[in-house]
Symmetry: C2
Subunit: 215 residues, 2 copies
């Protein structure tokens, strides 16, 4: 990729959508697409799509468009999806289990080594062959297995403590489902999934759409 230019978060967050549609196109045996066709699929403008992609290199060809397979591979590389990741999930409630169960997670190279919980009723159970372990063994397990990715699915109250244990033992990326802003050291990447905030945004637009029709 080009040196020196800072790429904005807005651009990065559009890449996974390109990646997904390109995957769909490949599944449909379509091996070529123009920025204007991709615009119709994604809802982004053709100009924006070309701008976005050219942050990382010239993947297209004048007069032709983009090769879907090549572009899918390239965006995958940019997003880091060409590598395998060792993952643990902390909190084996519904959300933790949902993630452990999600097949797409494996297909993109995320290998869930274990779930952790403090509930004795859950410890020892298996989700998709993945054992639920005692949260007391967390630190040792991370070090021993050189785990890189952690998913936080614990309640709000304990999530920061769990995150601290994870980062202190070498985890470098956290995917957080607890409804709070987790603090991490500078070298650790974090992505907060803000379900509450997503829901409240929906109620806002719903209320706005229906404010004249309510009795």
């Amino acid at each position: 990729m080009k040196k020196g230019k800072r790429i904005s978060d807005a651009v990065i967050r559009r890449l996974p959508k390109y990646y997904r549609y390109l995957g769909d196109l490949i599944s449909s045996d379509i091996n070529r697409i123009s920025s204007s066709e991709l615009s119709k699929l994604t809802g982004f403008t053709a100009s924006q799509i070309r701008q976005d992609l050219n942050n990382f290199g010239g993947f297209g060809q004048q007069g032709y468009g983009y090769d879907t397979k090549r572009l899918h591979v390239e965006i995958g590389k940019i997003l880091g999806l060409d590598k395998k990741y060792k993952v643990i999930i902390v909190g084996a409630g519904n959300i933790g289990q949902a993630i452990a169960n999600y097949a797409g997670f494996y297909e993109e190279g995320f290998e869930v080594l274990a779930l952790f919980d403090k509930n004795p009723k859950l410890i020892g159970l298996k989700i998709r062959d993945i054992e639920i372990k005692d949260v007391d063994d967390l630190a040792a397990f991370i070090k021993r297995n050189e785990v890189e990715f952690g998913v936080i699915c614990t309640p709000k109250e304990t999530s920061q403590d769990m995150a601290d244990i994870l980062t202190e033992n070498g985890i470098k990326a956290l995917w957080n489902f607890a409804p709070l802003d987790i603090k991490v050291p500078e070298h650790v990447s974090i992505e907060d999934v803000r379900l509450n905030e997503s829901l409240y945004t929906l109620t806002y637009y719903y209320s706005r759409n229906n404010e004249n029709t309510e009795e």
Copy 2:
């Protein structure tokens, strides 16, 4: 609120964060806060916070700041959280169950009337006193109960069909967890929770942070 001004999506998506921190402050018996203190909590600039709030009215007081309780109530109203909503969840897998189980959902006025699934093993079971019903009864149930909100937790393949049934029977807001862009009629509000896209953004930043240290 002020008439005529179009409020950007970026502003709306910051409101839930204010709302959350204000709730925390109230729980800590703090009843006053300035934009600069709120800035430290949220990470947004004080100027931006004042701008955001003034889109909806002058909730503060010069020389004093904002009354946490009042601001919490006002933002709640803006987001539509002062009302109750009748909700159904389609798909009673892990994610559907997680949402049905999430207590915060009820506290903010979301009443889950039922879950729906096509799996006979799940039909008839209860999650937190909420029955899992046969997806065949979906249309009739929505009409009979005047359900307003639908949560889509079905697999990618069936999600658009489910969404169509919901909107055809009068549901006006969809919270979608399936990894695709669901199409809805204009008058329906939709919020897609894009977990894949969130995860891939994390891998991007993780890869970027660690690209020099990898062997």
